[in-house]
């Protein structure tokens, strides 16, 4: 979509490296995400995709390299501080607040819009009341947009796997990110659910969020939503390009399927 124009990237990672003891999980990985772009990050298991996620969002401190978001350096900032700049992620293992209802989960996701002093907590003024009302309306709208209206007041631990995935995205959207990063959001979904999910994701960019980074093993889904694909293998960038180019890339096929017998 916006590949090749002169805009400055929303997110830029330079030479990210992460070593755990003697093991190098990610090595000199550089990439960027432009505003309005959906980037797919793929690679075989253990390629370092989740490690990348954790470095970009402050859950890991990279051994080397820098991350810039909206022109500011965010390397080594705390995860919540990075989230407050507008970079919100989901987790590979489904992470929601299980004992809260769907609505409560999404309402909680609006935390950043309603941050307030302790004094305002005890003596809420007009501003706090309005923020609360807006958060409730927005939460209901997000639940509806994600197609979970019929489960509005169900506790999260009663949801199906597919519904949980949608809820997870709903909570992240509630934080009103400019860049949303989803870590294997379609894991555990059947193909019908994955197709529906992909359709929902496609509507988000440009409407609810500026850009999307998605790690996913479901190739059909990731190829259909992404503008650009980055392939990681053994912690290094193997290839980068449009979905069609990646599908025809021989090195990528080898990384996934092994070398053809020569």
């Amino acid at each position: 979509m916006s590949a090749g124009n002169a805009q400055s990237p929303l997110l830029r990672a330079d030479n990210l490296t992460m070593t755990f003891g003697g093991i190098t999980a990610v090595k000199d990985f550089s990439f960027d995400i432009m505003p309005g772009e959906t980037v797919g990050l793929i690679g075989p298991n253990g390629a370092g995709k989740t490690t990348c996620f954790n470095m970009l969002t402050g859950f890991y401190a990279p051994t080397n390299g820098q991350v810039h978001f909206k022109g500011q350096e965010i390397t080594n900032r705390k995860p919540y501080a990075i989230a407050r700049l507008g970079l919100v992620r989901s987790f590979q293992k489904t992470n929601v607040m299980k004992r809260l209802t769907v609505f409560e989960n999404v309402l909680t996701g609006h935390y950043m819009a309603g941050r307030q002093s302790l004094l305002a907590t005890f003596f809420p003024g007009e501003r706090v009341r309005r923020a609360e009302k807006e958060a409730r309306e927005s939460a209901a709208a997000i639940v509806e947009m994600m197609g979970l209206s019929h489960r509005m007041n169900a506790p999260a631990n009663l949801l199906s796997c597919g519904e949980l995935r949608l809820l997870e995205v709903a909570v992240a959207l509630a934080a009103k990110p400019s860049l949303l990063m989803l870590d294997e959001p379609a894991a555990g979904l059947n193909s019908h659910e994955a197709t529906t999910f992909g359709a929902v994701l496609k509507t988000l960019v440009g409407r609810s969020i500026d850009s999307l980074l998605i790690v996913e093993h479901n190739m059909e889904l990731v190829m259909s939503v992404s503008d650009r694909i980055v392939v990681l293998n053994f912690g290094r960038k193997l290839a980068e390009g449009k979905p069609a180019e990646i599908l025809e890339n021989r090195e990528v096929a080898e990384a996934y399927l092994g070398k053809a017998a020569a």
Partner: protein, 319 residues
Amino acid sequence: MTLERNIILAFLAAAALLPFLVTDQYLLHLAVMAMFYAILANSLNLVVGYVGEFSLGHTAFLGAGAYTAALLSTKLGFPMWVTIPLAGVISAVFGCFIGAITLRLQGPYFVIVTLSFAEVLRIVANNWIPVTNGPMGLAGITQHGITDKGTFFYIVLGLAAVALYLSYRFVHSNTGRAAVAVRENRYVAQSIGVDPFGTAMQAFVLGAFLAGLAGGFYAHYISFVGPEVFQFPFMVTMIIMVLLGGKGTLIGPLAGAVIVTLLEEYLREMQELRLTLFGLVVMAVVLFLPNGLMGFIAQRREQQGAKPAVTPSTREKTV
């Protein structure tokens, strides 16, 4: 949320009528103690239910408040309406200090370190004789000539109303939801921009403040404060109240405080058997009502198909 508020308001209103119906000083004393414990249990619940960590050192704040009021009153001659708020403030300062250290810990580490802070304060109270008068304690704290328990009841009721108001506002605010998020899932909380430490700190310091208010009242009501305010029996009583009533709810600890205060008193006739019976009651609660009375009621309502409260804005959408 609205139901919870209405129950709390009804409880306070019913309590306000009590001294008109009951004139027996002994029963009024029980009512005063129940209300005192309601403030304490509520303050502990902010830590257990909303920080999500189990504190065994909450008596540090009860004691800090009680000693603050006792010292300001006996050494400087300050009146009750000054000493009680200051007791809350000083306790909150202790809360900032202790919280800054302990809230970086989780699980059993948090339990042990909070307990050790309460123990350190007890030892200080026992040994800093020029100030605290050691094990003899501080006696003769002014009661402003109030002899009627009914008057004391209104004072403690006022404090309970303040405590419940502040807790209600906190729990149902954006910050309170953030605290629940941290309790339920630390990673999700951070990914939506919640600072886990800062949020826990707010709940912890509010809990300390309210426990300090209760301690300040206790000092004037009993007119004596000794190192036993830091000791374990107070802690045990608070924990039982919170667990029995149901942690993480505002009504639970309130109900727990009333039930346990009365139970303790009625079981007194059993003499030595009292603590044993009490222990059995507690075991039964833990085994059969793991989420306390409020958890049990919520479960029953769910089984009977009663729909959980729908918020007004969502109701419009779904209809």
